[in-house]
Symmetry: C2
Subunit: 328 residues, 2 copies
């Protein structure tokens, strides 16, 4: 019997989950829930019902794991603790500073309901976090570095679009190659914000807008751009759609450390991702953790969990014998 | 109270464990066991007793985790199942094909004794295996690639030294950059053995030896060199010691895969290691899993485990709250 997946929220991430479920032959899509009028929503999978989010509880016996595809700012802080009353859930809550609070709230409800809630799943937090943990445990005497990109930052793209005279825009975060090389050499450099990443903006300006003013306003924007070397390109809406329509992302987690009686030997552990589609990759990680949620709850495990708490074998559809024989 | 570590076998790996224990302030070295005459062995840590391997059982109450530093060919198949009768143990058994058999033997004894035996810990098998498992679970539609090096292969160095007229030698396994780039591009190439790695040999020949004959014999050696582009350099013993005295290693585990409704998006997950000292890094991984063995056994867990079976949080000396706050 396959794992029956429900999707709560049908945006980029929800569609990514739908695609991931199609690739995992031990899973099936059981239902999609939306806050829009369900009759207006057309999904990719044939024969799967679309319900109003309000009706979710009524379908709890039809779903093994409900994947919450809302945003971290306002949706997930409410949704995860609400739905874990009735469902095993997985979310991608990514507001790093608020994870402890989110964990505690979800844990309390999940322990009471006997369900499992896996939070903060994706690549950062998620796979990057795992690599930070493993590398820190292996090399206690070392330094961590995280670089993001090359990829589209939604928050910075939004910031550009709020500038007066800007019709549309997209921002790429780009790691500085020289900084990456310095880290890989094992010399444990201290790097400023400016030394680690540059920002490249593609901007569609309104007709007659003052481009020099727009450029200055972007480059001097505090928090978002002022601490970075920022490049601004003005292009047409057509060019923006044609050349910058994707949502690529990725990055690097590197730890370098010393071992030996006199710390005479250097080691570098590097994990990197190069992703054509940020939401589809995030969804693929979530699908694997949905399998883990299903298997763990079958074993009687409940409560809030993160990637740190889940043995890797639970992510695989293969048996213990198979993974030892083929992947170890 | 710190975790009391015992070391069984004091070669390169055993010394690496000793160094790793020094770096982990929640561990202490309790004893070293050797098959040599203990009085002839001088270890780095002051005040720690060296005992004969035969006496190990008598010291079982002084040790929380015994780390088995023997070889995979003949030592570990006997030692792990023997010592897990009395100790929680960790080994680095790396004969991939015999892991299922080793697992079954250790599991039976460990379940009976109530101890935990973590096998095949290190970087391959070990961290590379983990990365294969995670990447396969995330991208079910994809291909795996493992490259080793640049690093010293002990087995190939031994093979060189068995050639007539050779006094000493060292072999480096080197991944082919063009193959790495093809894999990173996401084009899922089919690569032959020869396309993936080259082999570089540094050889000290006996005076008057026929160098052309040695070179031909090495290059045509079946299994070891015949399937690779191999380079042979003749150097002096002094140069070998000065330039090639280290035991560096490393490698790359890469999975590329497709997502999307029509598999229109490519993703590349890459994990790489660059290690000055193969045995010290292996020892550092083992030390982290020794912590996991200790914590799991305290919780009542017994039996044989691999890295696949152990939730990442067990490797860290930090609490769940701390890792969620700082590493997630």
């Amino acid at each position: 019997m396959s794992i029956r997946i429900g999707i709560m929220g049908y945006g980029n991430l929800g569609r990514g989950i739908e695609c991931a479920v199609k690739q995992n032959d031990d899973m099936e899509l059981a239902a999609v829930f939306t806050r829009r009028d369900p009759s207006t929503l057309s999904i990719l999978t044939e024969g799967v019902p679309v319900y109003s989010a309000d009706e979710a509880e009524a379908h709890k016996d039809e779903i093994d794991v409900l994947i919450l595809c809302g945003g971290s700012a306002t949706d997930l802080p409410k949704q995860t603790r609400e739905y874990v009353k009735y469902f095993n859930v997985v979310d991608s809550f990514d507001t790093h500073a608020k994870i402890p609070e989110h964990f505690a709230a979800v844990d309390e409800v999940a322990n009471a309901s006997g369900k499992i809630g896996i939070i903060s799943v994706g690549w950062d937090p998620g796979m990057f976090s795992l690599n930070r943990l493993y590398a820190n445990a292996i090399l206690p005497n070392g330094m961590d570095y995280t670089f993001w990109g090359k990829g589209v930052s939604q928050g910075h793209s939004d910031a550009i679009r709020r500038v007066e005279g800007v019709l549309n825009g997209k921002q790429y975060t780009i790691p500085v190659e020289a900084a990456l090389e310095a880290v890989r050499s094992g010399e444990n450099p201290d790097l400023t914000t400016r030394q680690k990443h540059t920002r490249e903006c593609f901007v569609v300006a309104a007709e007659g807008a003052d481009k020099a003013k727009i450029e200055a306003e972007i480059k001097n924007m505090p928090n978002y751009f002022a601490d970075y070397d920022t490049t601004v390109h003005f292009i047409t809406e057509e060019e923006l759609e044609r050349e910058h329509g994707g949502i690529p992302h990725g990055g690097f987690v590197i730890r370098s450390g010393k071992t030996g009686w006199n710390e005479e030997n250097s080691h570098v552990i590097e994990y990197s991702l190069k992703l054509d589609s940020n939401p589809e990759f995030t969804a693929s990680v979530i699908a694997a953790y949905a399998r883990a949620a299903y298997k763990l709850n079958k074993e009687g495990v409940s409560g809030c969990k993160t990637a740190f708490d889940i043995a890797p074998a639970y992510l695989s559809k293969l048996s213990g014998e198979e993974i030892r024989a083929h992947l170890l």
